[in-house]
């Protein structure tokens, strides 16, 4: 089908469909316009025999309707020299009379009546029409399955999935996904590791379709990929390491609510489309475009189920603290993602603490065990407070800074406890640190977040990977459009 707009004849052009009661109502009006001798062309969307009283053309492909942005039928257009100069839609006696210059036009009809939806904006048709009529710069190779192939099995067999079924990325679905971003399909978002290939918006959209994303998630997926594909986050190393880490994506800003992300009950878990598919799209993109596959560059000893997707939003509305994004320099009201190379979450149970001091002792004791009780400074962690634990600090008036300072103080350990061999454990810090007092976390190495919901006197810890220049630093990126 042509991707250029069909030329319309000069004069009046009306687009109708038989199924629409308003269109049926205006049939005598169309006849009256034709009888006046004015040039009239009628395009009908559904029934090729309608309207019987005037000559008409069947817009069977909906090309006219699509290219002239018809959202409502009937629509009356005025075409001069092939260009639209006026339009009205639905039935408005005054408007139709003004445009046609026929004073008594439709005088026996109601003054106004709304029209019906054009078939060209029917949600069941719009993707196919977009694919047919859009001259889109989507350039990926087309892969045709044979009719004997089950496309879900075929995509798995080609190594394109994370082991779960993926949505087949048809051109229609990919073009719909691309409506979620203002960016050009061929814009290069990042250089994707490990193969170091140019990652385009189009390739992201294809993988986002496969992951099950909605178009409105695209800016978040793009931002998360920008955040992981750089030397600071070091996605190559996160893949290649034998440790069980993957990108944990923390989303902030009003957009998290607009796209329906879960920051409440079961925020880390299953059941929310945005949480689960944004993270999955990032991982599928790294797998399919970057070439990072388990057993190849991905050498994780155990891995963790969060490597399928681990993405959640902070509950900023109920948090007693400023958000993680704000803490990391993002202006209030902006949307942002922060990526962290992390393992799966573990639960901190303290159902008895009623003072912030008691609760902080528990949190500190559990945080000290991150990766190994005798390893310090080299690993960051995310601490996620639940509403029930957060309330203890809110009621006591503790700020984010106060809480982090108190945790730091309670996680200092003498080198004698930590050196290799101490407490019967070979693992530990080098012997020259015996006389030092060491913090569990480097400065800024504990990321405080707030999520989860309903009841539960629990918090959650996500331990990180080797931090800093030798490993990965958390990266925050503003979500664009």
């Amino acid at each position: 089908m042509s991707t250029t707009a069909p030329l319309l004849p000069n004069g009046f052009v009306v687009i109708v469909k038989h199924e629409c009661a308003t269109c049926q109502m205006v049939e005598p009006v169309l006849a009256a316009i034709a009888a006046s001798g004015a040039p009239l062309a009628v395009y009908t969307q559904d029934n090729p025999d309608f309207p019987e009283s005037v000559p008409h053309t069947h817009d069977s492909t909906l090309a006219v309707s699509w290219h002239y942005d018809i959202e409502t039928v009937p629509t009356l257009l005025v075409i001069e020299n092939g260009v639209e100069v006026d339009r009205t839609f639905g039935w408005s006696q005054a408007e139709w009379q003004r445009i046609t210059g026929i004073d008594a036009l439709g005088a026996d009809l109601p003054v106004t009546r709304p029209g019906c939806g054009s078939m060209s904006v029917d949600p069941d048709r719009v993707d196919v029409l977009r694919a047919a009529f859009t001259d889109s710069p989507v350039i990926s190779r087309h892969i045709e399955f044979s009719s004997a192939e089950d496309e879900f099995e075929a995509m798995y067999a080609r190594g394109w999935t994370d082991g779960l079924p993926v949505i087949p990325p048809t051109r229609e679905r990919v073009l719909r996904m691309l409506t979620g971003t203002m960016r050009h399909p061929q814009d290069i978002v990042a250089i994707a590791p490990p193969d170091l290939v140019e990652l385009t918006v189009e390739k992201i959209a294809i993988n986002a379709v496969m992951a099950g994303c909605l178009p409105e998630y695209m800016p978040w997926v793009i931002a998360a990929l920008e955040a992981v594909c750089n030397d600071q986050f070091n996605m190559h190393g996160v893949l290649a390491t034998t440790m069980p880490v993957g990108p944990v994506i923390i989303c902030n800003g009003p957009g998290t609510r607009a796209i329906g992300m879960n920051s409440g009950i079961n925020a880390f878990g299953q059941g929310n489309r945005a949480n689960n598919t944004i993270g999955r799209a990032v991982q599928l993109t790294i797998r399919n475009v970057g070439g990072g596959r388990p057993g190849e560059v991905d050498r994780a000893t155990h891995g963790n189920p969060g490597k399928i997707s681990f993405c959640f939003a902070e509950d900023e509305e109920n948090s007693p603290f400023s958000s993680l994004a704000t803490e990391r320099g993002v202006p209030l009201g902006e949307n942002a993602v922060t990526v962290f190379a992390g393992e799966g979450p573990r639960c901190v149970v303290d159902q008895l603490a009623r003072t912030p001091e008691e609760l902080t002792e528990s949190l500190a004791a559990c945080l000290l065990t991150v990766h190994h009780p005798k390893l310090v400074i080299g690993f960051d962690a995310i601490l996620t407070l639940s509403p029930d634990h957060g309330r203890v600090y809110a009621e006591a008036g503790w700020s984010r800074e106060k809480l982090l300072a108190e945790i730091t103080e309670r996680t200092l350990r003498p080198g004698t406890d930590l050196v290799r061999g101490a407490r019967g454990m070979a693992e530990g810090v080098p012997p020259h640190l015996r006389d030092s007092t060491l913090p569990k976390f480097r400065s800024g190495g504990l990321l405080l977040t707030y999520a989860g919901g309903g009841a539960g006197l629990f918090s959650s810890i996500v331990a990180g990977w080797a931090n800093g220049a030798i490993g990965s630093d958390p990266v925050t990126r503003i979500v664009g459009s």
Partner: protein, 94 residues
Amino acid sequence: MATGLTILDPTSESNPSTRQLLARPADIKGHTIALLDISKPRGNVFLDRLEELLTERGAKVKRFAKPTFTKPAPVDLRHEIATQCTLVIEALAD
């Protein structure tokens, strides 16, 4: 055969070039061998011993190290090795 669904390729569509392995050298005598330490703990233990063994057999050994094991070797380091050495052994870890 009748065709089924058509989809867009989710991969980078790049074909990795396959390269022929070089012939195994008949003798290491006279070769300059790079020993690349990826900077994981105790990689040096392995490389120290290799250096002894290779030197005994008449090879010249040059030692190199990646800044961190978590990232690919920098381009300059790879270039340095390629221009100064004829063979390379990379030590993994732990």
